[in-house]
């Protein structure tokens, strides 16, 4: 099964064994000339199965036996993420939303509450908020600016839009009893972001990715947020990051 899609302004031809990926990518089709061809094999699916199992074991969770169609979704995005640094683009694990044409990316370890915080922004700001991607957006850093792109790999709630928005700020989020936000230093942000950026398998591509992280922390506002799950958390972070009171 094949399809051609536009992700982060790169035309990608996907040749898959199952149709899940083509259903997922509906809305991203293009007639453009592919610059990247992603072809999945049985081995790619087995690789994802082994990684998923190892991750469950490492996290002390019950091992989930995902079906091949789902595992192929992971394999396809992994191949795209491996190729993207050539085009100054990387996959960042985080919840990204846009307000009035500026994007804000919240990063935190899984289960910390970044999607919950994004939901609080939607409650606070209503339809001013556009969900760019709730889980794994692509971020391009070039010419001193960062642009974030929606993709269909958008987390369990499937919140994303096929948009490109200038990235204004990255916020490193942690849980706290009270809500507070401070500027993060470059020295603090770089290692923290490393934990949320897709790490390519190819060492050369990993080096390109680290350079992109360097550039990213140099061209966006960096924040560190401690927050609870009350609406006030969104008021605090939005006021600081946008410079505006909701």
């Amino acid at each position: 099964m094949t399809g051609t899609y536009l992700f982060a302004n790169i035309v990608v031809r996907v040749e898959s064994l199952h149709d899940n990926v083509h259903r997922l990518c509906h809305g991203y089709e293009t007639n453009g000339q592919p610059r990247l061809t992603v072809r999945t094999t049985r081995e790619d699916i087995d690789f994802e199965h082994a990684r998923s199992k190892a991750a469950d074991i490492a996290a002390g969770r019950n091992v989930v036996d995902y079906n091949d169609g789902y595992l192929e979704l992971l394999a396809v995005y992994r191949k795209i993420a491996e190729a993207m640094p050539v085009w100054n683009t990387m996959l960042v694990h985080g919840s990204c939303l846009a307000v009035d044409g500026a994007a804000y990316l919240f990063c935190a370890p899984s289960g910390t509450g970044k999607s919950t915080h994004a939901r609080l922004w939607r409650e606070l700001l209503g339809n001013r908020v556009v969900m760019v991607n709730d889980d794994k957006p692509l971020v391009r850093v070039a010419d001193g600016t960062a642009m974030v792109f929606g993709t269909p790999w958008d987390g369990k709630h499937h919140l994303s839009s096929n948009v490109a928005v200038p990235l204004r700020a990255v916020c490193l989020l942690g849980r706290d009893e009270s809500n507070h936000i401070e500027r993060a230093s470059l020295d603090d942000a770089f290692p923290s972001l490393l934990g949320h950026v897709y790490r390519p398998i190819d060492p050369t591509v990993l080096l390109q990715t680290l350079t992109l992280v360097d550039r990213l922390v140099g061209c966006v506002d960096l924040w560190r947020l401690g927050c609870n799950m009350d609406l006030d958390a969104a008021r605090v972070s939005f006021a600081a990051m946008s410079g505006e009171r909701a």
Binding site: A54, L186, D187, F190, P191, L194, G195, Y198, R199, P200, I201, D202, P203, L206, L207, L210, D214
Partner: protein, 86 residues
């Protein structure tokens, strides 16, 4: 012993980070100073703890025992995260 190929060093501020590729079973990173960076450079070739200490002594002035301690600590840290072969 030797630093595994899938571990990449990257300068950050006055120090550096050692980051594994997506193939490594460990997905953290190790942060260190320039001395740690010099030790990592020496570990790009197959070497021994004694040889690293000797090379570091030629390169840096340090109080008695300091280089030995730094090298032992770095190697211990790298072994803990599985970054060394041999």
């Amino acid at each position: 012993m030797k630093l595994k190929e899938e571990y990449i060093t990257h300068e950050i501020g006055d120090g550096l980070v050692l980051v594994p590729t997506g193939l490594a079973s460990w997905s953290g990173f190790v942060r260190g100073n320039k001395t740690f960076g010099a030790i990592l450079s020496l570990l790009r070739e197959d070497t021994t703890e004694e040889a690293i200490v000797a090379a570091m002594r030629e390169r840096f002035d340090a109080p008695e025992g300091a280089i030995e301690r730094d090298v032992a600590r770095a190697i211990s840290e790298l072994r803990k995260v599985g970054a060394l072969d041999g």
